[in-house]
Symmetry: C2
Subunit: 321 residues, 2 copies
């Protein structure tokens, strides 16, 4: 990033904490679930069925994003999206986010404005409020988001309910973010469809509650890669999962990008993280809702296989490694 | 901090994200309000009256704490305490916290273990669950906490309800953290009563719901200093607030420390932040609950005065400045 970028609005140090919070929150419309919005010690959010779903994620510049690859607005959108996807993966409808933002004092206010614009854009897309937050100084740009959600009377769909005989299905994109990352890693900026998917994923939020309504037995947000995240369901449910590649459609755009860069599009689909698709198990393939597609089966046993055999590529990625 | 401290458990990079999360969450008892604890995409927390209070705060090493002045366990306690105090200041009973932890890959696991022990200690003191979290790599140690709470059917007590004729009251310690900071700044480590108050404040959580029950018209968590935070009530409620020093008891311990260091104990009480006392306004001095003490009055006008005159010291502190 270029925190010293000249800008009429100056740096965050010049505007100060309260000035920044005012810029971020003033005049923003809030949904009906925001009973008390930003500006007090805490917010009050509707939790209609007497429970609240809550998840938190931290994104760090240089670890989860690079401001030379993604503009601040994309980063803001992504930070909100990854958290709302966690809420949707429980079968809940997202209701609100809280934002913790730490950045160097010389950060341009324009950067914070764009980050915030991205957060509001994604929140608005998901119809949730940005109900509170905190801003402070730090040696690096760190964004912490907490998302809240409403189960609407349903039981939460955990990772541990998959049963032998279930089918595995996914909703949303797979492999697009990995393709975009490969493109950016080679110094390119297009095609925008995959680069945009990396910069700001668009998780299929409504697919989460739809799956819960349809009787999904287990569900997870695909953040580390399809096989890695199915591995979490496999471990939590004590079942084996087999993914069938003949059921996985690899979009022509991924094939084209892989062909141009010399990559393997199927590898992106199976192991690429950060698209924030949803993966779930259902008792009956005939009952899966719109937007979901069957890609495999659940059986007795342990572990995740691809076409009946262990996958030999690297699955997921390790923080700190 | 000394992230390279030799330790049998190694560094966070060696243990990895999932290993760390397991160390932090395994075998911890959760209160009844934790309907689904850590380990899935999101937690589920009881919100009995159909609303949830939510607040988030970010603490950064070198900005909000120094690991050479406070051990990791103190920092963990403080990080949880400052958030729970925000929830209590709405008149709510805290129910849960979510933890975002970012730290350098060479951080000793022992540091994370101690941080976590502190978080659990404070959470247990307040009878709340640590229901979820996220761990990641960052150039600096950054702790982000989100606290949730239950209003138990009451209206939230905001900053904007104070009325002329109300009295101002406080619950909890004032000036102790500032005294402790002054002691540490001179290179001393005692008296432990003030140093401990700086390292890990003990906000009077039950005083928040008690005040709400007793009809408090406005309330705030004293994080930036008494006069600065009363200034927020004054501005939000469009009233004037006068603090009367003859009503403020300065504890003998603060007098002693100030005498030894050459400081002004009353200045610590009026402007010292981070004790996380609660300040509130009440319509009737005879109705204020146990643990609260009247320190001033609310009148028509604007701004905060001390004994009828503007206070000439520095009030509060500015992030980034």
């Amino acid at each position: 990033m270029s925190p010293n970028t000249p800008d009429g609005a100056g740096t965050v140090a010049q505007v100060g904490e309260f000035g920044l919070i005012d810029r971020i929150t003033r005049g923003r419309p809030q949904p009906r679930t925001t009973l008390l919005g930003p500006g007090d010690d805490a917010a009050v959010v509707a939790a209609a069925d007497g429970r609240v779903v809550a998840s938190t994620d931290v994104l760090v510049e240089g670890v989860h994003f690079r401001l030379d690859w993604s503009g601040p607005e994309h980063v803001g959108r992504k930070a909100v999206a990854v958290n709302l996807a966690d809420v949707a993966a429980m079968g809940a409808v997202p209701t609100a986010v809280l934002v913790g933002l730490a950045c160097p004092s010389e950060t341009a206010v324009a950067v914070v404005d764009q980050l915030t614009a991205g957060m509001w854009a994604e929140a608005t897309r998901a119809r949730v409020g940005v109900v509170g937050g905190d801003m402070t100084q730090a040696p690096a740009l760190v964004i912490s988001i907490t998302a809240l959600g409403d189960l609407q009377g349903r039981a939460p769909v955990t990772r541990s309910g998959a049963l032998p005989g279930d089918v595995v299905a996914v909703a949303g994109k797979l492999g697009w973010s990995a393709a975009g990352l490969a493109v950016l890693g080679r110094g390119f900026r297009s095609p925008v469809s995959v680069v945009g998917a990396h910069r700001a994923p668009e998780p299929p939020y409504p697919a989460g509650p739809l799956a819960a309504e349809a009787g999904a037995t287990a569900m997870i947000d695909v953040s580390d890669g399809l096989l890695a995240d199915l591995g979490h369901i496999s471990a939590a449910s004590t079942v084996a999962i087999d993914v069938r590649t003949d059921l996985i459609e690899v979009h022509q755009r991924l094939v084209d990008v892989a062909s141009a860069l010399g990559g393997d599009p199927r590898h992106w689909v199976l192991t690429g993280g950060e698209d924030h698709a949803l993966a779930a198990t259902f008792p009956d393939p005939r009952g899966i809702p719109d937007g979901w597609r069957v890609i495999g089966t659940v059986t007795h046993g342990t572990g995740v296989t691809v076409d009946g055999a262990p996958y030999t590529g690297t699955t997921g990625w390790q923080h700190w490694r």
